[in-house]
Symmetry: C2
Subunit: 401 residues, 2 copies
């Protein structure tokens, strides 16, 4: 049972989480909980670090940030114990979550569940710090965004849990963002692959890494609300019980920007040079398009998260004169909209239908990219709501009124 | 170099500490720093725990409190690094400070200095979390009051440091509390034994445990101000360079209360039963006196910290009718004043001089206890200043005007 920072933001909410753990335990289940830092604690610690220095070392930042979850687990264990139920807390390091040494975004390499199993055997509710681990030589690391979800999935795999319940402030995965599409429906079951494509294309309910981890270890995720007892969305291997929709969800993402490099000489290796430079600067390039060449010159466009723009700019300044390109421009007024659905594999013609619907809604398409179960377009940001609603209706996703 | 919570209470002070570490390093020394939690952080964490439950488990409390020092070390390492000097922080657990499992007041059992030595060899200023360690099986523990001093002394012993500098908000050890005796002088050098007696009798500059540790491992302590560069007080093995005063200091302590059990049957074993019960309740009994028996009954008085009174009361209620005593009373309006000096061993007659001076000052003596180098009396609390000043003058400790 994983609870995010909002769920443990106050002493009162911490008690509510304790009650949920106890209820589940009383119902006869063995319970392992994973919690994040309380509310804004991580942000406060970051602010403190930045008061010390604008560029703190990642190792020391991880040392600092790891205290946030450590406080949460101790307080939650106290809250459970206060109700007379045995509980014990462990840091990531203590439960043997061994990671690589990429501070601030470490990846879990292995996990020794023995300590958790022992503590469960002693009838404890076991409470583990999310978002953190240690390197093989004992350095404290954090797992980066969505890290607590990954901790939860990894622990679920390690102890062989029936299910990994991820409690959030939404009550499941929807066919579209309900703030955009009021008639969006909760999806009861979704496959890992679809969930991954949805996460990659803007659905921020579950982090991609945790879903990948779940797929790799066959962990069933139940994504549900921390405020109700209603079932949420089950994420698991595709099976015959899943809804057989061609399109399962329409997602949108306004957090990317489009960068266009103009007047690029159309020689072999030029694009490779651009994108290897961007990769070296840790710019997360998403979609790429290269226009048809005219007069031996071409334009290259790509999208990347707006948060990477600063790094992208630095990298491009260095490379642009080297390759003899003319200039580069940024457009951050874009949105990516995507159709995701396992049924798309076997249904050609989805692209044509998408284009037709968007044209009818007066929406221009800029870049396009596809995967076997996803189809994404870049459009102008102000048109995102119109486009998503039109597609949601077209592919039969609207809830009956 | 050990810095307490006040010295790192803000980002600004944290930078000042970083500057001190760097200055020492630049002067050619290898530097290991030990720091406490920032300012009031420990108190805030305690308050949070008590909001969850009035009686948190000590294990979880240690898990929680240990985060305070962990934050400090990370921020201090960042501050040193920001000045371009390599630094690395370690938790108590990471540097192999292994303790027993008495949560909240664990004792250091062993320390593996290899990691600190490695980090020093790589030219780092090494920054270690005070006040904490881990048990042999990896549980996080805290060392209780004065624990950061003990961490510093233990590390100094482990790495074979020339000196363990303990930075505080006073500039050394004085012949008396300067707030009581304006003419008190700073002591340049003092032996472990005298320092221990002074700590036991009210001088709160250094914790007893850290001085005991220093004595056991031959660590020289330099107790000095975090605000100036003036030398403070050196605590080390007695040697010929030390001032040869009969009395080195006059200390006072108003934190104890006196408990008197009246009408105790004067049988063998009765006192043993009382004090073993108190010990079982973790009451820190200091001085004990048993009056001369009358009619087969006697009164037993003892002193204990006021903070132990609640536990003492509970223990006494249980034992008092069992031994057939009449009643018990508490007097918390007392003070303990002490003379401490290695020279007292070889100078009889100090007791007589003390009585004479106090009598001349109109101060009544209640209980008395002695050690080879200390002489303590319990007096009425309102007379403590008069008594300390009179003794300070009598034994030649006043600074020349």
């Amino acid at each position: 049972m994983k609870f995010g920072g909002t769920s443990v933001a106050s002493v009162q909410r911490m008690r509510a989480v304790a009650d949920r753990l106890i209820a589940r335990r009383t119902a006869g289940d063995e319970v392992v909980a994973v919690v994040s830092a309380m509310g804004k604690v991580t942000d406060e610690l970051l602010a403190l670090a930045h008061q010390i220095t604008p560029h703190p070392s990642m190792r020391e930042l991880d040392m600092l940030l790891a205290t946030g979850e450590q406080s949460s687990i101790a307080l939650l264990a106290m809250a459970v114990q206060a109700a007379g139920i045995p509980a014990i807390s462990f840091t990531g390091s203590q439960v043997g979550i061994v990671t690589d040494s990429v501070y601030s975004k470490a990846k879990i390499l292995q996990l020794d569940a023995a300590r958790v199993m022992d503590a469960l055997a002693q009838h404890n509710i076991v409470i583990v710090a999310g978002f953190q681990g240690r390197t093989a030589d004992g350095q404290i690391t954090t797992l980066g965004r969505g890290g607590s979800d990954t901790t939860a999935v990894a622990l679920a795999a390690g102890v062989g849990a029936d299910v990994c319940e991820i409690y959030t402030d939404v009550d499941g995965v929807y066919t579209a963002d309900p703030r955009i599409v009021p008639r969006a429906r909760k999806i009861r079951r979704v496959s890992y692959e679809e969930m991954l494509e949805m996460a990659a294309s803007g659905a921020d309910v579950l982090s991609m890494r945790s879903v990948e981890f779940a797929r790799n270890y066959g962990v069933t995720i139940h994504c549900r609300s921390s405020f109700t007892d209603q079932p949420g969305t089950i994420v698991k291997e595709a099976d015959s019980l899943m809804e057989d929709a061609i399109v399962s969800a329409v997602t949108s993402d306004t957090s990317e920007a489009k960068i266009t490099i103009r007047g690029v000489p159309d020689h072999p290796g030029v694009a490779a040079r651009v994108f290897s430079t961007l990769a070296g600067a840790n710019v997360n390039v998403d979609m790429i398009i290269q226009n048809i060449s005219e007069d031996g010159q071409t334009d290259i466009s790509f999208t990347a998260p707006e948060t990477d723009l600063h790094r992208a700019g630095g990298a491009l300044e260095a490379v642009i004169s080297g390759i003899g390109a003319r200039t580069w421009t940024i457009d951050d007024n874009i949105a990516k909209i995507s159709l995701v659905g396992a049924g798309m594999k076997t249904h050609p013609g989805i692209t044509a239908r998408m284009f037709k619907v968007l044209a009818a809604a007066g929406v221009n398409i800029d870049l396009i990219s596809t995967s076997p179960i996803r189809l994404s377009c870049i459009i102008a940001q102000p048109q995102v709501e119109v486009a998503v609603r039109a597609l949601h209706t077209e592919f039969g996703l609207d809830a009956s009124a």
